[in-house]
């Protein structure tokens, strides 16, 4: 059965509207799940429409390929641990970019118009960058390779050479339409993607995922221009635009510029003056002391960070909150926008541990409330509570918005060691008189404190 083109266009329009509603629904926790289902419905409508609207060959093969793709992806998506979410998102993003690049490659033989060839070149390059970049991102997050920035002498020169070669190959493809040159362009894109992500440090990788997500969106939009398919143009552009905004919002939450992250250096330059103070005494505490402090407080604010996510201690943290609430204590979680291994990741981890989203307070909302808190319990976070971000203009994190835990009457840090956070700078707050520290793995420490609270 072949649908009339008008009906196809209407179905594509319906799918595009579904995608817009999906993104809008994701703005609020109440409507998010429904929004996502509307998006999936839109995708279903679009796929059915393409089968009904054109005279396709090889349909059994295509259906088989769809079955294979679903059979691989759905179980992985269903089983993945919430702590491994960022790398899975990176992986799915990468394969999308790869698919866009392959589509563009195959369309080259039909393209005579130089503008269409330009769109093909763009899709090839950006899709390949996204594919390879996401692959490296996945490897970093899965710890298949070092999470430290990988930099070698001459990296900028190599990158420049690769990009110039890519531009030259792109121009040649537009002029000649040669498939061999297109394959060369694809390879150059892959190399560029790897070089782009290698110098990025582990804690910044999530922002790169968001950026590559926007890249894939743009590649899909360009492939829509190649195929003359309005739905691909709209969906790709939506993702490209929203991904760009999201990347900028996340970078702003870390007080960084996107360019600064990509070049692996802090905006402020060197990490000067960081090592001089490490010999100073701190007040070290025991799990029992911390339990007493928490158990007899009226209001406790827990500040979970990257260390909690790495130690997978979110369930223990949630149990501790319940145990304290059972004693009539008011407990909230203060979530810094970039806490966890991905912006917004901590919210997902705590949601998984059954903490209601109303107990998860955003930075702007919770900051005035630290003044009324008896104890701020900082679990595996450091840079996001470092007052140096406000006070010392020479600090590499200067300008990053922080959680104002210093306003609380008592501050307890659960830390693995005195090692500074990712930014490599000393936290003055650790030496303040109201601060005490409990050393150890975040999950173990929380379990000990929880045990001690229960015996109070």
């Amino acid at each position: 059965m072949i649908l009339d083109p008008v009906w196809t266009s209407l179905l594509y329009l319906a799918a595009a509207v579904c995608f817009i509603l999906a993104l809008r629904g994701l703005n609020s926790p109440r409507t998010a799940r429904r929004g996502n289902l509307i998006g999936a419905l839109g995708a279903l409508i679009a796929v059915v429409a393409v089968f009904l609207s054109s005279r396709l060959e090889n349909v059994p093969w295509i259906l088989g390929a769809i079955a294979v793709g679903s059979a691989v992806a759905a179980p992985v998506a269903r089983r993945v641990k919430m702590t491994q979410m960022p790398q899975l998102v990176a992986l799915f993003n990468g394969v999308g970019g790869g698919a866009a690049a392959l589509v563009a490659l195959l369309e080259l033989s039909h393209a005579q118009d130089p503008w269409v060839r330009l769109a093909i070149v763009f899709t090839l390059l950006v899709g390949a960058v996204s594919f390879a970049g996401s692959g490296v991102t996945f490897a970093k997050l899965q710890e298949l390779m070092t999470t430290r920035p990988v930099v070698f002498p001459g990296l900028p020169a190599v990158m420049t050479a690769v990009l110039l070669a890519a531009v030259a190959a792109g121009v040649a493809v537009i002029l000649t339409g040669s498939p061999a040159l297109a394959v060369l362009l694809l390879v150059l894109g892959l190399v560029a993607g790897i070089l782009l992500v290698l110098p990025v440090g582990g804690a910044d990788v999530p922002i790169v995922i968001s950026l590559l997500n926007a890249f894939t969106g743009l590649a899909v939009a360009a492939s829509g221009l190649v195929l003359g398919n309005v739905l691909l143009v709209v969906a790709g552009t939506l993702v490209g635009a929203s991904g760009t905004i999201l990347t900028r919002a996340m970078a702003a939450a870390m007080g960084r510029s996107v360019a600064g992250i990509l070049f692996g250096a802090f905006r402020g330059g060197s990490t000067a003056g960081s090592t001089a103070v490490s010999e100073r005494p701190v007040r070290s505490s025991t799990a029992e002391d911390v339990a007493v402090l928490l158990g007899y407080a009226q209001r406790v604010i827990i500040v979970p960070g990257y260390g909690l996510a790495v130690a997978q201690g979110q369930h223990t943290a949630a149990e501790l909150a319940l145990a304290l609430e059972a004693r009539g204590i008011d407990v909230d979680f203060a979530i810094h926008p970039v806490a966890g291994r991905m912006p917004g990741h901590m919210n997902v981890l705590l949601a998984e541990a059954n903490v209601p989203y109303e107990a998860l307070k955003e930075m702007g909302e919770i900051n005035p409330e630290f003044k009324t808190a008896d104890v701020a319990l900082v679990v595996g976070a450091n840079d996001v509570v470092n007052p140096a971000a406000k006070t010392s203009s020479g600090s590499p994190i200067y300008g990053m918005p922080i959680l104002e835990v210093a306003d609380a009457r008592q501050v307890v840090f659960l830390k693995r060691s005195m090692r500074p956070g990712f930014a490599g700078i000393e936290n003055e707050l650790l030496y303040e008189p109201q601060t005490s520290l409990l050393f150890g793995d975040a999950k173990d420490s929380l379990a000990q404190v929880l045990g001690a609270v229960k015996t109070l």
Binding site: L102, V239, G243, P356
Partner: protein
């Protein structure tokens, strides 16, 4: 469709994209990223069209690879986003669960 219409649609889509996520709370950054990620899996439509026109077996093979990759992006993206969002509970619903846990804790203390 002519170039100018496509350009018009693209520009309008850019503004819709900016507008729709400009007020998103940081609470939902991860699901939003994952949801947007699923949406660009719609490249599947393009991959199907290319595979459906393929006459040469090599072209078909590459196109089918694109179909597999795009499907993984689309299906996996929506499934994982749904799973994540399923976990975001409101206070009321969990309040009851929390009460249950409190009772258990109480019994344990009694021992």
């Amino acid at each position: 469709m002519d170039g100018i219409s496509l350009l018009t649609i693209t520009v309008l889509a850019v503004f819709v994209g900016f507008e729709v996520v400009s007020k998103v709370s940081s609470t939902l950054h991860t699901p939003l990223m994952s949801g947007a990620n699923a949406i660009h899996g719609i490249i599947l439509v393009g991959a199907i069209i290319v595979a459906g026109q393929a006459a040469d077996p090599w072209v078909l093979a590459v196109a089918l690879l694109a179909v597999v990759l795009a499907t993984a992006n689309l299906v996996g993206g929506f499934v994982v986003t749904d799973r994540m969002l399923h976990m975001f509970h409101a206070r009321k619903e969990v309040g009851r669960k929390a009460a249950g846990t409190k009772e258990t804790t109480g019994k344990m203390e009694g021992k």
